[in-house]
Amino acid sequence: MNVFDIIGPIMIGPSSSHTAGAARIGRMAGALLGAPAVQAEIRLHGSFAKTYRGHGTDKALIAGILGMKPDDARLRDSPALAKQAGLSVTIIPDHIESAHPNTALIALTAADGRRVSVQGASVGGGNILITRVNGMPVEITGQYASLIVLHRDAPGTIAAVTDCLGSYGVNICNFRLAREQKGGTAVMTIETDGSIDRALNEKIRALPNIIGSTRLEPV
């Protein structure tokens, strides 16, 4: 904790959890799609579903998908800006089983048909936790540079990836592994202290058993 955790963040109101955190979840979803979205289907759960209008949670999520930060003054006009950008948005108050009370599940589609679904919770003070990407369990806080590596569950795959990071002098601060079943598809979520550059990510993509790797900047 430091002084700027107490006096900060600079944000668009009214709520650090329902507005600032929501914007960060949206921004994470947009980054994971990696291209401008043309369609967004946003499911809201719990307190998000009940109070999203009064807190501008919907506007914050849309602003985030458009790439805005939580202190961007255009946030409150995001529905109109989405329309201008060719993004059509559907908001669905819903129930998501055993999810945190402030949870959004965002399904995005890009112009080329590429899709991504991201489930995230706003856990207080503007902090977030992305818990699922395309249905796979992950843990991303958005406070660090992150790498999401989809791979086949095979011996030595994790070591190869972490070796690669180590050879670039990148220190891992959080690591999580989830797999569907033994030998099936698995996903590594890696958060690092320093940034992860494009060349490093390309090297990881080229490793055996790697299906895909996405790098994310802190949001």
Binding site: V3, T51, G126
Partner: protein, 293 residues
């Protein structure tokens, strides 16, 4: 030297022994902790004061309304009252109330604010410090520095209690903001670090037990008016401490008492909107009209 933010007494002692302000020690310490130049941290804090100042200006527009439509426009009324010269406690005090309302109403209207320590309590600290800046002609540099003192108070509270209404009730949000503002005011008025600690104790004592019961779950009713009362309380506590009044219960013990009171609060009174003002007939009606809750 590394500062510890686990109690206020230690910070006061370090400041008193070195003959410096709490803010100076905190800035030096934080620069070391974050491995940054002190001037960089000062500028970062200065930027926050600028956002606070802009928010206090933007929030007094007469036609400002929240997204829900429930609130807005009361800061404007206070600004008019301050301008009329016909106020009970003098125009400086009325302008402080107007600033607290303005920042808080702007927050509800999706304007840009600085959480201090939270968005729900974002009007209190700016109102205190900006009033010293604009109405008391305190140099800007001192005003920015006072935010470091306020932050230190906030960190001590966070380490020993909490700052979230959902956890500790409104006392944890507006109470903490008020205590932070009281410490800043004492420093800006030339008081000693000891006086600042007494002001923290007094401000917090006066808000102990305040529940978090927002109508319809929104950061509006009663949050906005509690920001006005929070800055009034900060001035009260600072004025008492500057006059030499001391708190019988030390600030660190008051903070722990706040934690225990928060723990004892039923969940209906901790931001769930199931009790208190949210559960009044009018509170329920407004919620139903807005969300069909």
């Amino acid at each position: 030297m590394e500062l510890r933010y686990n109690n206020l007494a230690g910070l006061v002692c370090a400041a008193t022994e070195s003959g410096r302000q709490i803010s100076e020690l905190v800035l030096a310490d934080q620069a070391e902790q974050m491995e940054k130049d002190p001037e960089f941290l000062f500028q970062e804090m200065d930027r926050r004061l600028t956002v606070m100042d802009e928010a206090a200006d933007q929030g007094v527009q007469p036609d400002l309304r929240s997204t829900s439509g429930l609130t807005g426009g009361s800061a404007y009324l206070l600004r008019l009252a301050a301008g009329s010269g016909n106020t009970l406690c003098g125009s400086v005090f009325t302008r402080a109330l107007a600033r607290a309302l303005a920042v808080s109403e702007l927050n509800a209207a999706m304007g840009r604010i600085v959480a201090a320590p939270t968005a729900g309590s974002c009007g209190i600290l700016p109102a205190a410090v900006l009033t010293m800046l604009h109405d008391r002609s305190v140099p800007r540099r001192a005003c920015v520095m006072s935010l470091f003192t306020a932050s230190a108070v906030g960190m001590v509270i966070a380490n020993n209690a909490c700052l979230a209404g959902a956890q500790g009730g409104c006392q944890a949000e507006c109470g903490s903001a008020s205590a932070m503002a009281a410490a800043a005011l004492v420093e800006l008025a030339g008081g000693s670090p000891k006086m600042a600690a007494h002001a923290v104790a007094i401000a917090l004592k006066n808000i102990l037990g305040l529940v978090c019961d927002p109508v319809a779950g929104l950061v509006e009713i009663p949050c906005i008016k509690r920001n006005a009362s929070g800055v009034a309380n900060a001035f009260t506590a600072a004025e008492l401490a500057l006059a030499g009044v001391t708190s019988a219960i030390p600030a660190d013990e008051v903070i722990v008492a706040m934690k225990h009171i928060g723990d004892a609060m039923p969940s209906a009174l901790r931001e769930t909107s199931e009790g208190g003002l949210a559960a009044t007939p009018t509170g329920r009606r407004l919620a139903a009209e807005l969300f069909g809750m």
